[in-house]
C-alpha cells in the first residue's frame, strides 16, 4: 500500500498547527492592552504546566496531583538564583549562607529550575510509579503536600514561614514566554514519538496485554515522570519570573485543579487536547475577568458580580465532563483537514 505525502506528514501537521494556534493567540492578545498581555502570560505558563501534565498523565494514563510540586521547586530555584545577593541577605536572613551567594542569569536559572524539578520527579518515581489509579492519585497528592510544607516552613531554603520571596527581576515578556510554550509543545511532540511513550500508551490501553508482551511499565513511567517533572520545573521558573513574587501557598490545590481542569477540558489523551484545553480555558477565564471588572461594549458596560468567574468555570467543566468526557479534542490530534482518507478509524468489521 503506497501512502501519500500527507500520511507521513500528518503527525508533523498536528505539531505545526498547534504552534501556529499558540502563536496566533499570542499575537492577538498582544494587541489587547497591557493587562490582557500580563494575564495571557500567566496563561502561557499554565499551558507549559498542562503540557507537562499531558506528557505523564496523557501518555501513561496514571493520574498525578503532584506535578505542581515540581512547578513549585522550579519557581523556588529561579527565585533563589535571580534575587540579588544583598536583597537575599536582608529579606531571607535565615537561609543557609551559601544560598546568598548563589546567582545565575534568568535563562540558566530557568533551566536549573527544570533540572531540580526533574530530579525530584526522578527521586520519587521508583516508588510512585508502581501505583495505579486512586493509589497513584493519593500518593502524588501527598507529594504535593509534603513539598508545600517543606517550602512553607523550612526557612533555611527560603523565606520565613508563609512569607514571600520578592525582588525577582522583571525580565520575562509575553513573547519570550511564548517561545518557552512553543518549545514545551515541540518537546512533548517529540517525546510522543519515542519508544517509551509508545510503550506507555500501549500499557495505558491494556495493562494485561502490555505485561504479556514483555513491556516493563515501571521503567517507562519513570522516564515519562522525570521528563514531565523537568518541563513542570521550567514552567515553575517561568511562573516565578512572571509573578515576580514566589510563595509556597501559590503552588497548592488551586493551581493543581486549574491545570488538571485545562487538561480535562481539552482531552487528556492528546497533545492537541492539552494545548487547546489550556488556551480555551484561559481565554474564557480572560473574558470572565474582564466581565467581572466591567467591560465596555459601545456605550453599555457589561459586568458580572464578583465571584462569578470560578462558578462559571466550574460549571463549564462539569458540563464538559457530562457531555463530552473525552474533552474538546476527543483525545485525538489535529489532522490535516484536506486529506482524502481519514487517519486510523477504518471501515467497521465485516467478518462477524
Amino acid at each position: 500500500m503506497t501512502r501519500g505525502l500527507w500520511w507521513r506528514l500528518g503527525p508533523l501537521w498536528s505539531l505545526v498547527s498547534l504552534l501556529l494556534i499558540v502563536y496566533a493567540v499570542t499575537v492577538v492578545t498582544s494587541y489587547l492592552g497591557e493587562s490582557v498581555q500580563v494575564q495571557f502570560q500567566y496563561a502561557l505558563v499554565n499551558l507549559v504546566i498542562v503540557v507537562a501534565l499531558y506528557m505523564f498523565i496523557g501518555t501513561s494514563g496514571v493520574l498525578s496531583f503532584g506535578h505542581v510540586a515540581f512547578v513549585a521547586l522550579g519557581a523556588w530555584t529561579v527565585g533563589l538564583l535571580t534575587i540579588e545577593s544583598d536583597l537575599k541577605r536582608n529579606l531571607l536572613s535565615d537561609m543557609f549562607p551559601f544560598l546568598f551567594e548563589v546567582q545565575a542569569p534568568w535563562l540558566p536559572a530557568i533551566l536549573i529550575g527544570g533540572i531540580v524539578g526533574g530530579l525530584l520527579a526522578l527521586l520519587v518515581a521508583p516508588v510512585l510509579m508502581r501505583l495505579n489509579g486512586l493509589q497513584a492519585g493519593i500518593a502524588t497528592f501527598a507529594l504535593l503536600l509534603v513539598v508545600g510544607q517543606v517550602l512553607t516552613y523550612w526557612s533555611s531554603i527560603g523565606p520565613r514561614s508563609g512569607q514571600s520571596m520578592v525582588g525577582i527581576p522583571d525580565v520575562l515578556d509575553l513573547q519570550t514566554t511564548m517561545f518557552f510554550a512553543l518549545g514545551a509543545i515541540v518537546i512533548a511532540w517529540l517525546f510522543q514519538r519515542t519508544r517509551p511513550a509508545r510503550l506507555l500508551r500501549a500499557a495505558r490501553e491494556d495493562g494485561i496485554a502490555a505485561a504479556a508482551s514483555g513491556i516493563n511499565v515501571v521503567t517507562q513511567r519513570v522516564i515519562a515522570f522525570a521528563l514531565s517533572g523537568l518541563i513542570a520545573g521550567i514552567a515553575g521558573g517561568l511562573f516565578a519570573l512572571t509573578n515576580r513574587v514566589v510563595q509556597a501557598s501559590l503552588f497548592g490545590i488551586e493551581l493543581t485543579f486549574i491545570t488538571l481542569a485545562m487538561l480535562v477540558l481539552g482531552g487528556m489523551l492528546s497533545l492537541s487536547g492539552a494545548v487547546i484545553g489550556a488556551l480555551v480555558f484561559s481565554v474564557i477565564d480572560l473574558v470572565l475577568v474582564r466581565l467581572q471588572n466591567g467591560l465596555e461594549i459601545g456605550s453599555v458596560i457589561v459586568s458580572l458580580p464578583q465571584g462569578t468567574r470560578p462558578i462559571i468555570l466550574g460549571a463549564i467543566l462539569v458540563l464538559m465532563l457530562i457531555f463530552r468526557p473525552s474533552g474538546l479534542t476527543g483525545g485525538r490530534e489535529i489532522v490535516w483537514p484536506f486529506r482524502r482518507t481519514p487517519p486510523l478509524p477504518g471501515v467497521p468489521p465485516t467478518n462477524e
Partner: protein, 238 residues
C-alpha cells in the same frame, strides 16, 4: 541442552487468593512440538494457572522454561525467557494499528535479530493482518483480533505459546482459522498450551489434555477420548 528439556515443565503449582486456594499442586508437561490442553469448568483454576506460570500472580511451585527456572521473575522477564501468553478476551491494543500491535509484541524478544523474519512468518500465518496492517485494531472483528493477539504473542518469538480461551466468542469459521494456525505453530516445533472451554474440540486437537477440577488435575485425556461422551462428562461433572 538435551531435547527432553525443551518446553515447559510445571511442578506443584499452587495459587491462593486471600488464603482461598484456587490452584493446588498442579503438574504440567508441555514438550516442544506438542499442543497440550487444559480444560475444566468455570472457576477450576485454568486462567490462574496460566497467570502463575507468567509470574503475574503470587504462587508456589516451580516453573521451568527450556530447563531454566523462571520462578520469581516479573512477567516481562518471563516473556524474555521464551514464553508468551495470549490473554483471555484477546486484549489487543484497540487504539493502535495492527502493525503497531505486532511491533509491540516484539518488545519481549530475546534478540531483535530476525524480527523481520518473524513478522513475515506471522503475516504468512494470518494474511488478514497484512491486509489490515494500518487499520485500528479495535475495529477488527473478534476472529481477526484473536489472530492479531496470537500474532502479537508470536512476535516475541516464544518457544512456548500459551492461549487462554482462544475460541471464546468466535464464530465456528473463526475458531477453525485459529486452530489451523495453532496446528502450524505446533508443527514448527513450538510448545502450545491451550486453555479452553470447548472440551471435545480441545481433546481432539491436543496430544494430551489435562482436566482441571477445583484446582487439581483429575484426569488426563488423549485425542481418542474426544468422542467418548462418558469420559468428557466425567471430566466436567466428576
Amino acid at each position: 541442552m538435551p531435547s527432553g528439556d525443551l518446553g515447559l515443565v510445571v511442578r506443584g503449582l499452587s495459587v491462593a487468593y486471600a488464603g482461598v486456594p484456587a490452584v493446588r499442586g498442579v503438574d504440567l508437561d508441555v514438550p516442544a512440538g506438542h499442543a497440550i490442553g487444559l480444560i475444566g469448568p468455570n472457576g477450576a483454576g485454568k486462567s490462574s494457572t496460566l497467570l502463575a506460570i507468567m509470574g503475574a500472580i503470587p504462587h508456589q511451585g516451580t516453573v521451568k522454561v527450556n530447563g531454566e527456572d523462571v520462578d520469581g521473575l516479573a512477567p516481562e522477564k518471563v516473556v524474555r525467557r521464551g514464553i508468551s501468553l495470549v490473554p483471555e478476551g484477546r486484549h489487543v491494543f484497540a487504539g493502535l494499528s495492527v502493525k503497531d500491535n505486532l511491533r509491540l509484541g516484539g518488545v519481549g524478544r530475546r534478540s531483535q535479530d530476525g524480527s523481520a523474519d518473524t513478522l513475515d512468518y506471522v503475516l504468512g500465518l494470518f494474511p488478514i493482518l497484512a491486509e489490515f496492517r494500518d487499520r485500528q485494531a479495535g475495529l477488527l472483528s473478534g476472529g481477526q483480533q484473536q489472530q492479531l493477539a496470537i500474532g502479537r504473542a508470536l512476535m516475541a518469538d516464544p518457544d512456548i505459546l500459551m492461549l487462554d480461551e482462544p475460541s471464546l466468542g468466535l464464530s465456528p469459521t473463526a475458531v477453525d482459522t485459529v486452530f489451523d494456525a495453532l496446528a502450524t505453530i505446533r508443527s514448527a516445533g513450538k510448545a502450545v498450551l491451550v486453555v479452553e472451554q470447548r472440551a471435545e474440540f480441545t481433546v481432539a486437537f491436543c496430544e494430551r489434555t489435562y482436566v482441571l477440577h477445583d484446582g487439581t488435575i483429575t484426569l488426563t485425556l488423549k485425542p481418542e477420548d474426544a468422542t467418548n461422551v462418558d469420559v468428557l462428562t466425567k471430566a466436567y461433572f466428576g
